[in-house]
């Protein structure tokens, strides 16, 4: 990952969402992007130029644009039409983003489009986040990685975030994934945890 001093950056055409530029690099703000927060707080999975990424919950394409700066191709799945309009605009300017309007919990909707990937990155606000991740593992190569951004408040607002976190880890492990790293994203994001697994 590229850093200028302590600041995480990516290399690409700027002006996607008004991000700051530093020495010609795009600043990747950890307060806006959970993935950037993970790289600053933990190790995460280093993005390399030959990587293929399946990105679930692409939203407006803010984080997607940074990921696309690093890797070969990003399959960006988003469910809502309003943010998809923004994502399409980002994709038109970057040849390696494949925007897909589909429900991440129904992989069959985009199965004909997505090849085997090295990394699945998931950031969806759904109650069954672990199940969605497991259902998408058909796209993940053996030895590939999964980064799950767990929004504990979306799983169950009445449960303690720590409890949701433990339950999710149990589900992932019992499905045969190996947890390599798990960290809370405070102070950048409240009640959000990052879980990194290997298949």
């Amino acid at each position: 990952m590229i850093r200028v001093g302590d600041v995480l950056v990516s290399k690409g055409e700027g002006g996607v969402y008004g991000e700051r530029m530093l020495d010609g690099y795009r600043v990747w703000d950890p307060y806006r992007s959970k993935l950037a927060a993970l790289y600053l707080l933990g190790t995460g999975i280093g993005l390399t130029p030959d990587m293929k990424v399946l990105y679930l919950g692409a939203a407006n394409g803010t984080t997607v644009s940074h990921v696309a700066d690093y890797v070969e191709v990003v399959y960006a799945v988003e469910f809502a039409p309003r943010p998809m309009q923004d994502l399409l605009e980002v994709a038109r300017r970057r040849g390696n983003i494949m925007p897909i309007l589909a429900d991440a919990s129904c992989p069959e909707q985009y199965a004909p489009l997505v090849e085997t990937v090295d990394l699945i990155y998931q950031d969806v606000a759904q109650p069954d986040q672990a199940a969605i991740a497991l259902r998408n593992c058909v796209f993940l190569k053996d030895g590939g990685n999964l980064i799950l951004m767990l929004k504990t408040r979306s799983v169950d607002i009445r449960k303690q975030p720590e409890e949701v976190f433990r339950d999710t880890l149990d589900i992932l492990m019992s499905a045969g994934l190996i947890i390599t790293e798990s960290t809370w994203l405070a102070p950048y994001h409240q009640d959000h945890a990052a879980i990194v697994c290997t298949r």
Partner: protein
Amino acid sequence: MQSFWFGNISEGRCTPFTGDAATCARRVREIRTSMDVFIPPDWQQAVACGVCHDRAEYLFLLQKVCIAGSEQAVREQYAAKDVELLQMVRTLDEMDTIINVLSERVADWYQIRHPSFSLKYRRTPAHVLVKSISERNREHGGGGGALGKVATEITSLSDTRTSLARVVSGRACEVMPNTSALIGGLVAARLLSHAGGLKELSRLPASAIQVLGARTALFAHIRTHAPSPKHGIIFQHRRVHNASRDVRGKVARVLAGKLAIAARLDFYRGCAVPAFLEDAQARIDRAGTVPGEGQP
């Protein structure tokens, strides 16, 4: 056989698809993939198929298909009749808020200009005062200064609001004929806006429709032991707010029950059902007249 965006592969033989990105995207959305035996597509299969020559071309073509497919899907979702109505009614409600806030402010301002003036004991609400200020401004040929100009703007904004309300009400009658017939176009549109769409509204239980828009009161009731809300948005309908206090809750409940049915008729049939409407109107009227009667 496996179907991918570039073609069908069966027993090692590949049949490529022809046509432009839009046609291809439309086809991809019709493919039904079984996930039990699914193997993701490989770009080399596409090369073998003769669709492209190398990896770069594969990604180039794929992106065209993806963009075309997403554009189609977005356009389809926006073409649903209720999507624009949702924005219209939210704009209307926000205009209301803005007009009220500005009118109050202008009334305060006017009092500073005229120290002996007070709204007390006058039956003039702030917006009527604003209207008279703007009229005076016009009579003086725009000589009313900044205050006059602001008042004129507010007046023209509320004219726009009135015409928008008419459009909303008309559109609501088209999109949800049954619900609008029971409760009026404007209130029906507000219900739609709170539910988030016609599909969502049609899937709400009657008890939820009854308290839609009374969120604070509902959660106060659940958390503490505050009395339960009897009505949310549907209070705006005359049959609820004109009913006497002791039957108001009942009218709201019966009305909400019929609205739930009406919303389902609107979503699944999309046309007015006179037999239902007649029966429902009679039932709601009965609930409002004689206490104790009208139990199902």
